[in-house]
Amino acid sequence: MVLKRALIPIVLLVPLAACEPPGGSDEMANSPLRGSIVETGSERPRFTLSDTHGNPYSFEDETDGLLAFIFFGYTNCPDVCPIHMATLASSIERLDPADRGRVRVVFISTDPLRDTPDVLRRWLDSFDPGFVGLRGTVDEVNAVAESLLLPPAAVPVGAGDSYTVGHAASVLAVTPDGGTRVKYGFGTRQEDWATDLPLLLQWKAQAP
């Protein structure tokens, strides 16, 4: 509780219900997943940002048929970002190599000023060299976040070099068929990921 209380000022905790489409479905209600299904029957998200080599990265094309995790954060984040990345990396590492190859973690920086391509790459490599790092302007990144029904980043203006960036605290999973989005809030543990990863890899969105 204390841990969570301490984190509230630096992350934008938007109530989950505010991000969910109205109504819901049986798939949402009866889900065996530990994460929360926030959207079903949707299409794979479409956006393009720059990767850490400076090349355009089309999320739709690059993650087609793969289980993708999207997270908005920044490398100077003191807690939520490294904890999410560390637990996710440890859990993916336990998958067999074939399944591991079917998972992409896409980290989108909300702090383009300090997260240069090199900084972002080094930071992601400390968790898993396979993690993808994407950059864009704050407006571009926020447009992507909003298209995914996630809160935009709050980057302080004129704060010098030492500042925190408000950002969504959830990891968004996009299933291999692209049809289901599942949200994992801060507090998701390795055991939760271990339970959900095999299910997500097999997930097929139910017909409406």
Binding site: M1, V2, L3, K4, R5, A6, L7, P78, D79, P82, I83, A86, T87, S90, R94, F186, G187, R189, Q190, E191, A194
Partner: protein, 271 residues
């Protein structure tokens, strides 16, 4: 500022932090000990001028302080399970034994003159209840849900620490305290009591060692501590607990054996 150290949820740094409650507790125990020494000056039972017993007590108190204060307490409350079990070994096993060894013999005599207290302590510190209280307490206070809930608040962390100290005192009492006299608790049984505690693997420590995943959310979801990860740290914690407990019990059993041998030699010489 915290009065007792609990989980903070902030990235670790080496900035010193004061814990006033810990200082107060240590000062109270020290003052109580000085008063006890004045009221019950050392006798022949304390081994001469009592400097040995004072050294035991002071060492025990310093170790207790080290366990409950910065940096060990801060690391153990928020970041590292290995620091948490080290705290337990100091505050809940080593310190209570040393402090009990430092109590003047006259103070135990005073308990003997209070029948109700004497009877209560007699029941509580009988080797069987003492064994159960220590081991059940050790298991409960390291159970993941209990640790995660307790470490989140200062009062919870304080309760956990006090339960450790109290459990340690009860554990060592039948071995070290002269009252109530337990002629049936033969040195061989004492060695068995210690050996059993050294060998036992309590459920939470088995979980620490063999679990596939981190069992404590406190440490798993803490800001990362440089150079380690929650699972490896948890396994280290389980190993520290197992190995160090076995060593402590082994050393204590060896001391019981040597004392028994000395007494046998005295008895043989006198007979």
């Amino acid at each position: 500022m915290q009065w007792w150290c609990s989980a903070q949820g902030q990235p670790w740094d080496w900035t010193w932090r004061p814990y006033v409650g810990v200082w107060l507790l240590v000062a109270l125990i020290a003052a109580g000990y000085v008063a006890l020494r004045r009221r019950y000056p050392p006798t022949a039972l304390d081994g001469g001028d009592g400097s040995h017993s004072a050294a035991y007590f002071v060492t025990g108190l310093i170790l207790l302080w080290a366990a409950l204060d910065w940096p060990l307490a801060a690391l153990g409350a928020s970041y590292l399970a290995s620091a948490h079990v080290t705290q337990f070994l100091l505050a809940g096993v080593v310190a209570p034994g040393l402090m009990l060894l430092g109590i003047p013999a006259g103070a135990f005599g005073a308990i003997e003159r209070r029948p109700t207290l004497h009877a209560f302590l007699g029941d509580l510190t009988h080797p069987v209840p003492a064994f159960l209280i220590f081991n059940v307490g050790m298991t409960v206070t390291h159970w993941p849900g209990v640790v995660d809930a307790a470490m989140a608040t200062q009062m919870g962390a304080f309760a956990l620490d006090m339960a450790w100290v109290l459990g340690g005192v009860i554990f060592w009492w039948p071995l070290l305290a002269p009252i109530p006299a337990r002629p049936m608790f033969h040195p061989l049984l004492k060695i068995g009591y210690l050996a059993l505690n050294g060998i036992l693997i309590r459920p939470p420590f088995a979980m620490m060692l063999f679990s596939e995943y981190p069992i404590y959310s406190t440490y798993e979801l803490a800001p990362p501590f440089p150079g380690t990860n929650p699972l490896h740290d948890q396994q280290l914690a389980g190993a520290i607990m197992k190995v160090v407990t076995a060593w402590i019990m082994g050393i204590a059993a060896w001391m019981v054996f040597m004392k028994w041998k000395r007494m046998e030699a005295v008895d043989d010489g006198g007979g």
